[in-house]
Amino acid sequence: MTEKFPPGLALQKVDERIMTLNVGPQHPGSGHMRIIVQIDGDYIVACDPDPGYVHRGEEKMAEYRNYITNIPHLERPVIHDSCNVLYPYVLGVEELVGIEVPERAKYVRVIASELNRCIYTMYWLAIYGIFLGHSTMFMWPAGDRELLIDLMEKMSGARVTHAHFVPGGVRNDLPPNFEDVCLRQVNYFEKRIKEYSAVFYDNPILIARTKDTGVLSREDAIRLGTTGSVLRASGVDYDLRTKEPYDVYEELDVHTNVMKEGDSYARSKVPWLDMLESCNIIRQALQKMPKSGSVRTKLKPNPKGKGLNSVYKRVESGRGSLGCYIVSDGKTEPYRLKLSVGSFRNLIALPYLLKGEKLGNMPSVYWSLNYWPVEADR
């Protein structure tokens, strides 16, 4: 009987003590989704996340466009992390079409992808700050993000949706003097985000609010299939950059940040540690990058996949593992394209974490899951 209705409209037994709150889609603390929360006093009895408000059919759209024209729209799910969203698609198409990528392009890709990870994480951190009522932590990351956005603008010409990765390399070579500017900006950026610990991560009220809330144990984190910073905050040492290195990550020294606690404090701190690690990676890549050479292997104008073939590639994005499954039937368009995104896999943990929590913990637990509603809906 009840499964005929969409969630939230289902008939339920009426209990006078239980109040049902529709947190979202028109709510300052929900993002583009709805969380149906049932509360008993201040305690959450049940929670039912209801995503799907920003579904855009990216996967179906990809079947009607050729391999190159798919690039600009496939980065739309997370415009702040657009390089990382494109990364698995580009790797997959390179394997399908069968081209080699120049060495310099691989380093440029790593730099762009790490810059994008920082840009995304800063945006995420800003919203985490305002969800906890910390308005300074909203403004500071939103402002310091500009440093890296300027770098990406120099590199690709666009501030957010870069469309910079193409099969066979990257679209443009780096502008002259980019290495020096990048090193200087990244060093300053690292100095800035280290200051955040004083105002945010070492703040006694923040620690008291987020420690021991929404604890996700190591076993549950693995069982529920979470990924990315959520998994690493629960004590699992898993990072695709070291476990399944793609492009030139195996030549770089990547340290994986792991925290044991599994609470929302740890889940909010791991992305911040990852940003510091990204700065290290960018510096290494700038050092090891070949100083000259091609950055793009030219493709034929309208490349075709080789026969009936399928490929699955995944990368570590700002929200964890991001996979792209492409099936080719020898035409210029992919036969089927499927994105497996970290956001949706992390959202599954939300009902388990919120059950029995206080209502005041809902924003901090929800946003600590490193969830991006637009990406989850695709």
Binding site: P28, G133, S135, G143, L206
Partner: protein
Amino acid sequence: MSVIAPKFKLSEFIKSLLDNAFWAVLILSLIGIPAVMTVLFFIEMPVINGELLTPFLALTWIADPSRILPIVHAFMATDIFRVMVFPGFGFAALLAAGTIFVERKMLAKLQLRVGPFYCGKVEGILQLMGDGLKLISKEIIIPAKADKPIFWAAPVLFVAAAAAFVALIPVAPGWVVADVDLGLLGVFAVIGFFPIITILSAWSANSKFPFIGGIRALFQMVSFEIPLILSLLGVVMLTGSLNLSEIAASQSNFPWIVFLPIGAIVFFITMLAELERIPFDLPEAESEIVAGWLTELSGMMYGLVQLGTYLKLYAFAALFVVLFLGGWNGPMVVPPFPAEILTEGIVLGPITANIPGLPLFTQEMLNGTLWFVLKTVAVIFFILLPRGVFPRIRVDMLLNLGWTKLIGLAFVNIFIALGLLYAGVLGPGGLQ
């Protein structure tokens, strides 16, 4: 990088002032003067001292200081002046408006942004006026299921309660709207109104988020009222009076914060909670319950609640100054009024004007007001500062803080006051 706000240019500022003056003169002369003349044509003018009061005669009175100053003096001695202008509503509203402006600019500087900039040409000083006009011109939407009379009345009651609070604050010696002997008790009574008004507004909206916010506000205000009252008992014991003017006058040698620092700290924290400021802004926690008990308020109803909130902020800061920082007491910095102006008159070129009753305010009153305003502004600054630094706390943490830590500290404060009293160091009437 981002768009940088243009630099302040004096020439453009003067040009804008001239523009505004031009339009003011044009509108006044085209609409104002005909309107006034039309009104004057129909009304019957009074006869004062055998003279028919014409507009021209009234203008000569205003231009003649020896005739207008006694009128001004008489007006300043009335209750309506005290209620509407100086120690009462007008003064408090002016300080509250200043508070909003300082809060915005200070927070913006803290967060590495510009803040209000364009409205009013100079650092956005007219932003508040613009916001007020926006709120007045907005439609007021009442929820269909709301209990309408109570829902309408709540914002008005909120401002009224805040104004009643302001009326009890002594600003300078003798300058207080309501000089009651049980002034501090009156303050507690007025503070006790706020949770009732809040829950009335929240409940009558008949909506879920305001209801949760109202319940939170009720929890917060009721549980923090007890440490609030207890933390002030020390001051009352040492002064031996509940009259706020006497409490302020008793601190002519030392402010009570020197002897009762724990009481001052407890009062400051409870003050933040009563004002619903960060980190205690749970009733308006936007990421959890939209805007808390303000969710269904729209247009000028919301504006009235904001006005009441900032009046309350001023009143609490002023109460802190009166009880712990010595009120109007401070070194005499205002120069005395030169007596030869009264005896010999002012030489204005060829004429010598002899103006009776020129010192509108006494030296003590001006000095007291100056120190009072300085101290109040400092306290308001410290009330605003946590907003840039702290996140919001949770209900259980708030209740734990209120019921265990703050009440305990307030009792420690009372014992300190008792010790000082029985040791004979201090007692009613100040330092002995």
